[in-house]
Structure formats: C-alpha cells, structure tokens
C-alpha cells in the first residue's frame, strides 16, 4: 500500500531525475544533434549533414589521437588484467600483516591522478631518480627523455596508469579469489601440479569471468585517458602535442577559446560508439564463456 498518492514517488525521484536529465541525458541528446552542425562556442550552428564526419576521416590529428589511444589500450589492458591477479594471489594468504600489505598496495588508488602524475614526472624527469639510477648502473649513457619524447611519454603514462590501477583491480580479484574452492588447489597439488600449472589450470578458469570484467573496466577507462598525459606533459601533450589521446583532442577542439562544438560533438559521438562497442564485445565474450562452461 506504499505510495497511494500517485505523485509521491515522483517527489522522491524529482531531484535525482532533474540532475540526471540536465547533466547526462540533455547533453547526450545535444551531442547527438550538434554533431551534425557547424556549431561554435559562441552561438551559430547550421545543419551540415555528415560534414563533420567527413572532416574527421581526413583529420591527421584525430587519427594520431586514435592511434595513441589504441596503443594505450593494447598495452594497458593486458597488464591490468594479469598483474593485479598476480598481486591478489600474493596477498590472498593468511599470513601475519597481510592486511597491512593490502592497504599499502591500495594507496596509489587513493591518491588523485594529478598527485600521482606529478610524483612520477619528478621520478622520470631527466634529473630524476629513475634516470640517475639507470645512468649509474650504466644501463644508458644519457638520461632517457621519458617525458619529452612523444612515444616515451605515452609509455611513461601507461606505466603510471598501470601502477595506479594495480591496487584497484587487486581488490576486485580478491573478492573473486575467495570464491575459488581450496580443495581444487589441494587436489591439484596432490596430483603434483606446480605453482604455475595450478595458476593456469585452477585459478585462471575459476576467475575468468572476473578477468573479463577487469578487462572491460580497464579498456573503457583506457579509452578515456586524459589526466596522465596532461599532467606528465605539463599540459603540452609532448613535443608538438603528438601524444594527445582522443579525450585530450576533444577537449582541445571543443573547449578551446574558439571551441568548435559541432566538430567536437562528432568526435565525442565516435568515442561513444567506441566505448559502447567495447561493452558489447565484453558482453559477447561473457556469453560465450558462460555457454562453454555451462
């Protein structure tokens, strides 16, 4: 009998719905419309059909950003699927002090990307600790331009992304590992399976759905990479701005002084299709793996 008066539920929902409508659905609809116009930051906006998308197909800066983001994905996603699982294995033990280690491994997650980016900029700068150690050990003769070479900058950012993400995905894996029946490991051990073999044949199959989840989360967040690149390059995206990601480029085009809203919207829409594609791909993979195990 709860909610006899028809408007009561809507009073409960109104504030949240207002914010969501104003801050999510409205802007999304606007993105969909403006993508087909030549709207600028200061008024205007004639319908131009597919012009923005034609221009996009010819925009070398866009393709560089696309390539950079794709490279990011290819490196970061496998690293973030595998390394946190190994880390979770390491702390999934009943040993004294293990809880403290878990908390310690989580610290990079708590710090903001700006703080983490600034810390690593200092570590990786030409005068920084990493180069000092590399030179001292005679691994390299000259300091490596980790932050001033576009390609190296991208890899440095990937390192930061992975470093900061380890603890986050570790916690997700820990929840999954506590579901792995201990008897399976014991049985495999009795059968003489080594640690590597048990990891591959017992752990991985039981946490495979979680690996898929982690892969999806890592992939979606990698397609939106921005802060790492901005902070590590002090807002320049490397020499000649060659290390821009898609989000970096969208922000520059759409939110600059003379923002090209229409063109930026077309890019945003393309990015949206990309992230949706990743989600759908994950769903298909999930269905398939469920069918195989069923």
């Amino acid at each position: 009998m709860i909610g006899r008066r028809w408007y009561v539920p809507w009073l409960f929902l109104a504030p949240a719905l207002l914010v969501t409508a104003l801050m999510t659905w409205g802007p999304l609809a606007n993105t969909g419309v403006l993508a087909f116009t030549d709207a600028q930051a200061l008024g205007g906006g004639q319908f131009t059909g597919l012009d923005n998308f034609v221009r996009l197909a010819d925009d070398t800066d866009f393709f560089r950003a696309l390539g950079n983001t794709a490279l990011y994905l290819v490196v970061v996603v496998p690293a973030l699927v595998l390394l946190p699982l190994l880390l979770a294995q390491l702390v999934h033990a009943k040993l004294p002090g293990i809880g403290a280690f878990r908390a310690v491994f989580y610290t990079p997650v708590i710090a903001s990307m700006v703080v983490v980016g600034l810390i690593w900029s200092w570590l990786l700068s030409s005068d920084g600790l990493v180069n000092a150690v590399l030179v001292k050990l005679r691994v390299v003769a000259e300091p490596l331009p980790f932050l001033t070479d576009a390609t190296l900058l991208l890899f440095s950012c990937m390192l930061v992304t992975v470093w900061k993400g380890l603890g986050y995905y570790m916690v997700i894996y820990l929840a999954a590992l506590s579901n792995v029946p201990g008897e399976l490991h014991e049985a495999a051990r009795v059968d003489g399976a080594g640690a590597v073999r048990r990891f591959r044949s017992v752990t991985v199959p039981t946490v495979r759905p979680t690996m898929l989840l982690v892969g999806t989360l890592a992939a979606i967040s990698a397609t939106k990479v921005f802060a790492e690149i901005y902070v590590m390059s002090s807002g320049t995206a490397g020499p000649g701005g060659q290390a821009k990601s898609i989000v970096y480029y969208i922000r520059e085009v759409g939110l600059g002084v003379d923002g090209e809203i229409g063109y930026a919207s077309a890019m945003s829409l393309t990015l949206f299709v990309g992230t949706l594609g990743l989600s759908v791909l994950a769903l298909v993979l999930r269905r398939r793996s469920e069918r195989n195990t069923a």
Partner: protein, 304 residues
C-alpha cells in the same frame, strides 16, 4: 551489496607482522604456494617498495632544504636536515588553503547530494509502485554507460547557460547524484525486510517518515560506501574542474597543484610539498579506516 560475496571480515583482518612468521605456517589449502612464506614476504616487501616508494621519495624531496641537492651525484635518499620550509612556500605561491577549502566544499557537498538524492530515488525505485518505474530504472541503468568524457563539451554548454562557469556549484553539479549511487541505494533498500516499514505505516507514518526514520537508518553501510566513493571521486577529479574553473582563485586542489607545477617547475621541492599536502590527509584517513573501507568495497558490489 548486502548478500553479495565480498571481502569477508576474515580476509581483511590485520595483524602486526611477526618475525616468527617465517616458519612454515600451516595455512588454509588453496593458497597459491609459490614457495615458503619467506619468499612471499620478500615479494610483498618488493611490491610495497614499488607502490609506496614513489610517495616516500616525493616526501623526502619535500623535506629537503634549498641548500641540499635534490638531483646529481650528491643526492641522498633521506634529507640530511629535514625542514618544513617548502610546505610554507607552497602557500606563498598558490593559495593552497583556499584550494583545500574549495575541494573539501565540493567533496562534502557531493557526499550529501549523492547520499540523500541517491537514497530518495533508490527508495522510490525499490519500495514504491508507480507507472513509469521500469522506464526510470532503465534510464538510470543506461546512464551508467554514458562516459562523462563523451558529453563533457555539451555539459559545459549547459553549465555555461546556467551561468555556473567558474563556480564551485558548476564543479559539483555533474557529479551531484550518479546513477551508481541510485543503484547501490536501491539494492540496499530491496534487501531490507518490508515488515518494519509496514508496521510504521500502520502506525500512521507517512512516506517521508518511513523513508527518513525507518528505512534510511537501516542502510547506513551502503550510505557509507556511497559517501566514501563520492568524496574520493570529487576530491580526486581533475578533468571537469579543469574545464569549468577559469580564475586561479576558484581552483580545486587538483587543478591548483597542476597550476603550481606550471608556475614553479624550477623548484621541485615546493611541488613535492604541494603534492604531499594534497595526499597526506587522505592517506591518514584511509589508513585509519582501512578495515572498514575494504569491507565496504566488498559489500559495495565489486564482485566478479
């Protein structure tokens, strides 16, 4: 989420490290036994160094005085004469207290709006029957697949037309109530037994009273999860404040730190001190609450 398989109390239990732990302890079967506990501790320590070392190096740099080298062959790991001078210098270069205040204001407001508005909407979706409930629920779910980055340009246009550019309200608004907050609260209310609320209804309590006095106090755990994540998200956010804030006086801490490193790159000690100011309070709170925090994450629905 209640009923979810999370990190259990047992797995988050923390004990002080004991040297005697090196002996081959009897452990639960199922632990990946790479080697003895000694090797495991070695690996754990190496990982701890890798994940916390950078923070410590930054702290060390922040504590070194101007007379002490921070790079070159004479650099030492620990500051020879630790000084807090660089922390004072941060405040001379940027209004760091103001930035902390701005960040705190936005983060606390975000906690309140996400908890209250999220709970209200979640309650309606979990407990009330009305036309259009399915559609509203679908819209909330669907909002989760819309990345902020995709709509940021148009969110900026909306915020601009509301006259909120360069204001903290403008920073708050897009994250004021996330779809995730609504969903977490809805799940929490669904797991509550209906009987208490029905009893209150028979006693003549209105919908608001049932929500506020009976249901809300019973979902404190989920409110804490929503609150902690809203706070962290707002406190750490960079992209949106960078877009919406224009004048250095209104910056939040993340944008202000980036600004600091731009204006003062020639003294890494000051930049290092700035990052430490930003991160130390957060880490202190985290380590004080970490047991609750890990339990909360487990309940909070991150499960495979």
């Amino acid at each position: 989420m209640p009923g979810g398989q999370g990190v259990s109390e047992r797995t988050v239990r923390e004990r002080a490290p004991e040297p005697s732990a090196v002996r081959p302890a009897r452990r639960r079967a199922g632990v990946g036994r790479v080697a003895g506990p000694a090797l495991r501790y070695l690996l754990l320590l190496a990982m701890a160094l890798l994940l916390v070392g950078p923070f410590l190096w930054q702290l060390s740099t922040a504590l070194k005085g101007t007379g002490e080298p921070i790079y070159g062959p004479d650099t030492t790991l620990l500051p020879a004469e630790p000084t807090l001078g660089n922390f004072g210098k941060v405040a001379e270069v940027i209004p760091v207290w103001r930035y902390i205040g701005n960040s705190a204001l936005v983060a606390v407001a975000s906690v309140l709006t996400n908890c209250l508005l999220g709970a209200m909407a979640g309650y309606a979706l979990a407990r009330m029957r009305f036309r259009g409930r399915g559609a509203v629920f679908a819209a909330v779910l669907a909002s989760l697949v819309v990345p902020f980055e995709v709509i940021m340009v148009n969110v900026f246009l909306t915020v601009r037309s509301l006259g909120l550019v360069d204001t903290l309200l403008g920073v708050l608004l897009p994250g004021a109530v996330s779809g995730l907050s609504i969903l977490v609260m809805r799940t929490a209310f669904l797991a509550l037994p209906k009987e208490t609320e029905e009893a209150a209804a028979i006693d003549g309590a209105g919908e608001w009273a049932r929500f506020w006095r009976v249901a809300l106090p019973s979902v404190r755990g989920s409110l804490a999860v929503v609150g902690v994540f809203s706070f962290l998200f707002a406190w750490d956010d960079f992209l949106w404040p960078l877009i919406v804030l224009k004048s250095p006086d209104n910056f939040t801490l993340t944008v202000g730190l980036q600004y600091l490193s731009g204006t003062f790159t020639n003294d890494q000690r000051v930049v290092a001190a700035g990052t430490m100011i930003a991160v130390i309070p957060l880490l202190a709170v985290f380590f004080a609450l970490q047991r609750m925090f890990f339990r909360g994450i487990g309940e909070g629905g991150v499960k495979g």
